[in-house]
Symmetry: C2
Subunit: 303 residues, 2 copies
Amino acid sequence: MVDVCLLGTGGMMPLPGRYLTSLLIASQGKMILIDCGEGTQVTLKMCGWGFKAIEAICFTHFHADHIAGLPGMLLTIANSGKTTPLTIIGPIGLETVVNGLRVVAPHLPFEIIFIEVSNDKANSFDIHGFKIDTLPLDHGMICVGYNINIGRQRKFDALRAENANIPKIFWNKLQKGEEIFFEGKLYKPDMVLGESRKGIKISYCTDTRPTENIISFVEEADLFICEGMYGEDEYIVKAVEYKHMLFSEAAFLAKKANVKELWLTHFSPSLLFPEEYLEAIQEIFVNTKIGEDRLIKELKFEI
Amino acid sequence: MVDVCLLGTGGMMPLPGRYLTSLLIASQGKMILIDCGEGTQVTLKMCGWGFKAIEAICFTHFHADHIAGLPGMLLTIANSGKTTPLTIIGPIGLETVVNGLRVVAPHLPFEIIFIEVSNDKANSFDIHGFKIDTLPLDHGMICVGYNINIGRQRKFDALRAENANIPKIFWNKLQKGEEIFFEGKLYKPDMVLGESRKGIKISYCTDTRPTENIISFVEEADLFICEGMYGEDEYIVKAVEYKHMLFSEAAFLAKKANVKELWLTHFSPSLLFPEEYLEAIQEIFVNTKIGEDRLIKELKFEI
């Protein structure tokens, strides 16, 4: 089971009643945060999931509305009692930007591990069971999208274990992933486990123009969180100029990528009532939601 | 006439429903902001006084809860259309700290003028008619308090002008502050103006332990905005350790300095209901208010 909370839905600047776009993903007591603009720590406090379990913060890019809340967030995480390392992931230049902002948060009780992702290829790594993939996006500055994949353990297959004549006393340890060497023979977890099972895939793409690469990157995602800066198609000139997307462009990406569900976010400050466009957008991709601050969903593994 | 708005009342970290301590002062179409923690731009937006007229931002010190909102504030001021210089005032090291934070706000359409104030003496300067004085405070890092004095123009004194035989054609120009040289004689504004008149004095002291110097610094202030981190006197050990004040300590300062009114602010996140202590504190200094986010007052010149 995986819980996601869209902490905010704003783009450009925080507004009364609209925090900046940021996503929190929780699974098995660990959390990943994507983006951290000014005020993200406050909406996270309202969400109530705590700060101590944050293992990684991923940044799409270094515009202030996506990262300026970092120093306050680090201090509040510190205040939560965390002492284990925190991983911070983002485009090349990450360490310089973070260290600039940390001029007001120089002393922390935990280590920071930096992972700078290349912008000319996809990157992939594992943080506490979250498999994280990145994709270069098309914005005014170097920017990446994220897939967070949460794998599912394979089932124990007793028949398989019996057929392979594996002593029963080893079954439990093998199921838990241990390898055992006994009387000249090596027993591996693979020998007692069934077919691999589908995990959960969450995709997060902002800020960007729509690209063909996004379609294959977010393909079949259980939840696709995508920027929609403008509701009306008339804003296409602005969207192209500032390298953002229309609601309709995000919906076409969702449709082509055959995702299960689309949440729109990163609304322009001038877009006061994004829900007014829902009906029109659902004609392109029916399972669309207009993001709301602290919109929460529990994603379940397939039975 | 001078308007003040206490934009927030929190200390340490922003909370749902409580922005960080910050003060906005407006007079004759110009504004001064003191402190700018994470979220200050949002509460300022709620206050509705706009961003473009901000001429100076004063910082007491460089703890994140007083300055981490600066990059977002600068971008929002930029977005308001301001192109004239912005003065930023704060303790020694200001430029380094601001430039660190500006890693996410490098391009602005206005110049920034830095004024770094010495911590071993009082400083005084004039910004667009606001006379600003600073005083070193007693906190865990270099920290200064501010007096903002708004002067009042002297009245035109016709009798005085007549007695001095000043030609009537010059009266208007002299009243407006011009000097005139005519037929070998220098006419000065002073010759047509009455007694100097009392201005308005606003004092802002946070974060600090109470000191004797604060008393003389804030003496006779029309409004004294002072930190009160803890409501109960039992917290004195904590207040001493972290270099903050009890409500009662702030009230004794107000009483000794004979200020007109005291507003308490910079409440500890653990202090959920500061108004519970009001009655007890008013026994020390009757004209005390417990600060609230966006508490507004119009200060009038004496008749």
